[in-house]
Symmetry: D2
Subunit: 306 residues, 4 copies
């Protein structure tokens, strides 16, 4: 893709995820104006070939596509929906792609507010974490119109590997929520399996090897069983973030009028992990809640992030 055929992109939110993503877009030949409250991050993007924007409005000015990558619902409400925000300052025809993980209803509100102003909007949350953002191997779950998805596809191609249009506005967030529900739940189940094995005098490593070879096989067992048994919980993806995401899972279920008997318990375990002080550990640290719950919490020396 040459610069001529590139897209003019305003990118708001240059954090751990947004910074490498914006840089990938620059590298792919797009004209990227980046903004963040953290001016160092803006300078870094400028050094990488982007333009340093001085405000949201400045990032949005002249952009064909605006991408937002923000921490949570209140930030999206302010930066996208608020006074002087993206919708307030973008010109008709602009496509807004919110890649933040937020509630489906927030994405739907953004989409209808955008439509009222003649703008287009997609929700496109990602999974794959910091590593996926750096290596441009994110999974991207996209909600919105097919035509808007087609228009955004070349940009997504620069950022991820699995890129799927899953339905109308908000659908990307629902899929992300379903993903976090299953991920959180499997962490809890593997934690319970480990504590059950250890407390029964069984070698957890050997036991989990068997599980990983059968119907119980899952990627978390593959990637994390060794570190979990060794009680190494360097993030990865922090409990605090998974706690935020479980809030979205419950909100999405409420909006869809769906009861989640297992998800409801998993959300409480993630809350417990955070309340017990493990918020900055990897989400595999759900194990610490489960073992404390069973009186098996003797591994405090190895568990802090390094």
């Amino acid at each position: 893709m040459t610069t001529q055929s590139g897209t003019t992109v305003g990118f708001v939110g240059l954090g751990i995820m947004g910074s490498p993503m914006a840089a990938h877009l620059v590298a792919a030949g797009h004209r990227v104006a980046g903004y963040d409250l953290n001016t160092e991050a803006v300078t870094r993007l400028a050094n990488a070939g982007g333009r340093a924007a001085t405000s949201v409005a400045d990032a949005v000015a002249g952009a064909e596509v605006v991408i937002t990558m923000l921490p949570a619902d209140p930030h999206v409400e302010q930066v996208v929906l608020g006074e002087g925000g993206v919708l307030d300052t973008a010109t008709p025809g602009t496509l807004l792609i919110d890649m933040s993980t937020v509630r489906p209803e927030t994405s739907q509100r953004v989409a209808s507010a955008a439509a009222e102003r003649g703008l287009r909007a997609l929700d496109a949350p990602v999974s794959g974490g910091e590593a996926g953002a750096r290596q441009a191997t994110l999974s991207i779950m996209v909600g919105g119109d097919e035509a808007d998805f087609a228009r955004a596809k070349p940009l997504f191609d620069a950022l991820g590997k699995t890129i799927v249009h899953v339905g109308p506005s908000g659908a990307g967030q629902v899929v992300k929520a379903a993903n976090q529900l299953v991920v959180g739940g499997i962490y809890a189940l593997v934690s319970e399996a480990i504590v059950l094995l250890e407390a029964s005098g069984v070698d957890a490593k050997a036991g989990l090897d068997v599980l990983a070879g059968g119907l119980a096989a899952n990627r978390i067992l593959d990637l994390k069983r060794e570190s979990m048994v060794a009680r190494r919980f360097q993030p990865g993806f922090r409990i605090d973030l998974h706690h935020k995401d479980m809030g979205i899972v419950l909100a999405a279920a409420r909006q869809a009028e769906v009861a989640l008997p297992v998800g409801g318990v998993v959300a409480q375990l993630v809350q417990a992990a955070r309340s017990m002080g493990y918020g900055s550990l990897d989400h595999s640290a759900l194990l610490k809640v489960v073992e404390r719950f069973s009186g098996h919490d003797t591994h405090d020396e190895h568990d802090m992030p390094e």
Copy 2:
């Protein structure tokens, strides 16, 4: 392995699992005397080259190794520990391998009763189901002494693919319990994800494809997501059996003084599936409980076993 080097085996319990297992042992050159209350199953084994035993004692007579493959704890208590049972009639030095899935404490009671009589015992429950039994691709989780495991290994090799000695008496059962806990839990989580996606107007197939490509990936998603979305629940492994196994999971946890917050809920969901009349469906039919729980139970035409 030639017949000369083969082992004389008494095999009690020629059901859906035991029949093909006993036949594999015959095919591998062992001398197998089989017994079951179902005389047709005994005849089938005789036709396949085994010996038709007329009682537990007859199957045990002259055996170097006795294998039991029985439905549940009470059967093991009767056939192995009861009057005229295996321990009552076997000669010192015989190795008993109980491949039934039972409570760890039952296996431990068998092992100590065996020791009192100068016999040896292993617990060796399996996973992989009927297909695994037929194709000799079972996973076998073995608890007991290392030397007894070594002695049994050639027999296990004729029956399975993943064969692991996981610890002392009862350890095989604990690993099997941990496996069923994780399997049951993942079914519940995938079910909740499907209902959340569908109720939100998202294409479940597309959504699950994304999940299967990331950290939420698991074998159940790989093997069952298509049939679950289509509401096809032919077993496979029946809810009734998984219900029995969740009883073992809770008993194992109780014995180990371990609390299973998620497992406790999953056990109730499996009970609900059975109570609602889905006991003879595949365990993926947990989806039917979750969807009914959310008022989304409109798929009754396709769900019966064929």
Copy 3:
């Protein structure tokens, strides 16, 4: 209390609860200007001796105290915090008493927005339902400053029986949330007890009589065991409202960083009751979820509200 010593009150929200409450204030000698979107309710209050206000601003005009009694958080956000709302139009020194049941953080936002404008605010949610509102026997849980509570006390005395100042802004909502958590949970427990008794062939009535005589005794058993066993679920307090309240319970827990393992499950059961179509039944209809969950749902003829 004479008219001379009465208070000038603006009352916004004349629904099932607000209407009798406003009428009690009139009867107690206060000057009450009432407003609601439902003009019939406004006329009724005028007929009872109040003043018919034509807008929120009109109700607020000249009021020493403004009381709001609204369905949920979004209504409070609009009527109290929104443009042309209570805070926008009240004069400094006015005391706002929000008697709606909302999230603690909504009450806290109201209180700080009020303070910024030189107004005072209390949160004062109630329990006791429609009957309590009619008979002026409500329990009123009040959060805010002691002096404001003292000022509001004569008004509360006209509305309720148990009136307690429980802490700073938001504390009233937290106590209400704790109340609804315990009420919802006891309904679930009594439902499980009934299904267990019936499914075991025990006379539920006789069994519950024993429970009501011992440590398990509770007001729900006292008031509702007969109607629950008979499957009569006329509200009372609707499942839909309890579902709203469980959302507040989970939000309050999240704000306080508290994990609610039992509350998390109860919230899912209440959601299930609503999803299954029982939203307009009394909250004792949690029994219908529990019995369906166990395959014992044969009582559909008696359960609709009359």
Copy 4:
């Protein structure tokens, strides 16, 4: 009641509960032969006017009614069903009253084994604890035939206050299980309410007072809220015993094919309390699990039994 009209009773199990119960029977004019492995307890009964039996068979010899009050299922299986046990040695026509708290199916097995030998049997578990046993104010839940209940009634009158025949064999145990389910669940709910209140900066005492005045009112709030807020957990009824009882609850539910979504979680919380080392504290110490789960476990100085 004179000695002439009294009943000859064999009483097996003179523990904390059985000792005062046997003494009450003596005081009421019955001829009581008591047996226990603890010879001091036997001596105490003899000093109180009973007869010191030297074995189960000796206690049973000549008895019209045999009462057993034993810790758990295995003891009943041994003392009642085992070799040299009650059924083995009692003469036809004897009425066995098992007042132990055991699984319904154990009571049913006892009843049918009794019937085979021409004996009669009732299950008659109690609630009310040590205090109830001492003050003869127990609640007694009786399963079995109406005629046997009538025959036993004069004995029960010496022991308790609320005495109810609730159904056929096992029904007494089911009602006891339902009772413990509700009691355990309310302790968990009150614990969650306390932690939510405290963590939100609300005065728990004031908040619980409001709850105790409304629909959330229950006997546990009445009797225990003060001691719970003060973190005093002297038993009362120990967590270890409630843990045993939750095992019976789950077994009774399994037998009745009933799913207990809330009960399933409560059982795990009680297990957690025990696993965390609080087994000898009062069951109100569920609060310690809930608060630890939320990172609020700063009250360790007052919680040990004195």
